[in-house]
């Protein structure tokens, strides 16, 4: 065991000196490798984080949302609709929701104005108060205790005191939020209570009964559409998976270029390297020793590049808002103002990334070396 450890130490020592002897080539290889991992890692981390965040946020969303349609378009829904569904067996809670969009001239951004649910004590607001998302706070330079001025669609200026900034861990959906009391909301849009709500939210006792409840409700409300939480999550999934897939397909060319480069640089043995292998074998190294030495060489380059690439991708996605990829991955036109993702690292994802980069690199490195190493040493040296 002691001699095995000493042997591995000698091999690693020799590997390190071998890396230093060809430092320019190895530095180029490291840089190209790390950049490839960085790009792939950024796409994967971003897409995964955005889907995860959506799933977490939607976990507390109502199981069923009901919207009234007029001529195929979403319209306000009346109290009578709420009365019609709240007594359906299996419905635990039914309430009307008030929310709407408006374009803010000052920051040139679309905000979502919303009334928090009545049972959410932490977000209960009195008239004249507001809670805003981190994106709105950044765009308007607002902070807790300051005032937010909004020009309503009716041309009236609203002055709201910022009670607090919403938790930045859920910025994907909260970044553009402006929470206000029901009174302020109705005044802002000049919407009297007789006109009802934006939509209805239903919570059910048993999630397996959702389809049955929708079936019953649709008989009572034939002009309404029913959106389940599952549907919203699926939509998010498909949007971001599609974007991720598109980007990965575009990056496919760079991945292939990297593979060719890695194969050429890492495995295409120079005459000097072939001579070195011949010398090592001639002086008593076994094929296994040469392969172990080259394995350590490849492992050191690929692990260093892999770790650097992943760390850079992590910083890029979670600390620099994925600036290089955001226009494609976020969907610039539909998600605004800017939001930051909560840092998260998934083991399976990292393992997948390693599998598709470290393994091909190792294979590309080891096969030609094995070919050279099994040749008789005199042939290698001639």
């Amino acid at each position: 065991m002691k001699s095995w450890i000493a042997r591995q130490r000698y091999l690693i020592d020799f590997t390190l000196s071998s890396l230093l002897r060809r430092k320019v080539r190895n530095l180029i290889l490291f840089a190209v490798y790390a950049v490839s991992i960085f790009v792939l890692g950024s796409v994967m981390l971003f897409s995964h984080a955005i889907r995860r965040e959506a799933a977490q946020i939607l976990a507390s969303a109502p199981e069923i949302t009901i919207q009234k349609l007029v001529m195929g378009r979403h319209d306000l829904i009346g109290q009578d609709y709420l009365d019609a569904v709240k007594n359906i067996r299996g419905v635990r809670r039914a309430e009307g929701r008030l929310w709407g969009y408006f374009y803010d001239q000052a920051s040139r951004a679309n905000y979502t104005l919303m009334v928090p649910p009545p049972d959410d004590a932490a977000r209960a607001l009195a008239p004249g108060e507001t809670m805003i998302g981190a994106g709105v706070a950044r765009a308007r330079g607002a902070s807790q205790g300051s005032f937010l001025f909004l020009l309503s669609p009716t041309g009236k200026m609203f002055k709201l005191k910022v009670k607090s900034i919403l938790d930045s861990a859920s910025e994907l959906v909260s970044a553009d939020l402006v929470l206000v009391s029901a009174e302020d909301f109705r005044r802002f849009y000049r919407l009297d209570s007789a006109r009802g709500f934006t939509d209805l939210a239903l919570k059910v006792r048993n999630s397996r009964e959702i389809d049955t409840i929708i079936e019953k409700a649709s008989l009572k409300l034939p002009d309404a559409r029913f959106i389940t939480r599952r549907d919203i999550l699926r939509t998010y999934e498909s949007i971001f998976s599609w974007r991720e897939g598109l980007l990965l397909a575009l990056l496919g060319a760079s991945i292939i270029a990297f593979a060719i480069f890695a194969f050429d640089k890492a495995s295409g043995l120079s005459a000097e390297e072939r001579r070195e292998i011949g010398i090592l074998k001639a002086v008593g190294w076994e094929t296994g020793d040469v392969l172990a030495m080259k394995f350590w060489e490849g492992a050191l380059i690929s692990l260093a590049a892999f770790l650097s690439g992943v760390v850079l991708a992590y910083a890029h996605v979670f600390f620099f808002d994925a600036g290089l990829l955001a226009p494609v991955l976020k969907g610039w036109s539909v998600i605004y103002p800017q939001f930051s993702l909560a840092p998260h690292l998934d083991g399976l994802q990292i393992a997948t990334l390693a599998f598709f980069t470290v393994v091909p690199f190792s294979a590309a490195t080891i096969i030609p070396i094995w070919k050279a190493a099994i040749t008789d040493p005199d042939m290698v040296m001639r």
């Binding site: 000493a6 091999l11 000196s17 010398i279 001639a282 008593g284 076994e286 040296m381």
Partner: protein
């Protein structure tokens, strides 16, 4: 110690550029002796040396070491024999550039996992014996021809082999360095090492410590004679 029985070595067999480097060679190389193989360029000296030193395999025929057939052994066993039995001094020395003299000398012992302090001490002793102790920390490419050859000799001796094989050891040396090399060979012979060399150089054939001279031509052994000591 080593016997060859009808050994042939053909490169690129069956192709247009086929070369029959060694043809039906049968001979014996005795232990504790100094044997020199001579002959013109292309006569097959180096090929024969690589066959004897287990650096390549014969295309046909058998090679025995101490009565055991070694020519058909798997690569792992061949390497083991090469490591334990032979030390090589190559014509162009074949030191690895970019690493120190000490590392070059210790290189053949790395796969054995020898204790580092003991290995370093042994390498130091050899460099001392070869009168180049001050060169240990220098890189191989910074050495002169004579120094490089001494490092190559130290490397050949690090695993304490029974036989030292040298291919044209004086081809790149001047007269003074050739004489110094012969002194080293004399010392090694005094330590009981078996020496096997190829050479064009008459100063080698006529050296006092040479016991046997083998002459080759066109891949064949044309003469095996005891050295003339008169």
């Amino acid at each position: 110690m080593i016997s060859l029985d009808n050994v042939c070595k053909t490169y690129h067999e069956g192709r247009e550029n086929e070369v029959r480097a060694v043809r039906e060679v049968s001979l014996e190389i005795g232990a504790d002796r100094t044997t020199v193989i001579r002959g013109p360029s292309g006569s097959g000296k180096t090929s024969l040396l690589t066959l004897i030193g287990c650096l390549s395999r014969p295309s046909s025929g058998r090679i025995r070491l101490g009565g055991e057939i070694i020519s058909g052994l798997p690569e792992k066993f061949m390497t083991g024999i090469r490591r334990q039995t032979f030390g090589f001094i190559f014509q162009r020395f074949n030191l690895i550039r970019g690493i120190t003299v000490l590392e070059n000398v210790m290189l053949p012992a790395y796969p054995l996992g020898t204790d580092h302090a003991a290995l370093k001490a042994r390498a130091g002793e050899l460099l001392e014996m070869l009168e180049i102790p001050g060169k240990a920390a220098m890189n191989a490419e910074q050495l002169s021809g004579g120094e490089a050859q001494r490092v190559a000799i130290a490397r050949a001796l690090i695993n304490d082999p029974q036989m030292v094989i040298a291919d044209e050891p004086t081809a790149n040396l001047d007269t003074r360095l050739t004489m110094q090399f012969l002194d080293i060979v004399r010392t090694l012979r005094g330590q009981g090492k078996t020496m096997l060399m190829t050479s064009h150089d008459p100063r080698i054939w006529s050296a006092d410590m040479v016991d046997t001279i083998i002459t080759m031509e066109d891949g064949r052994v044309t003469a095996v004679e005891a050295a003339d000591r008169s």
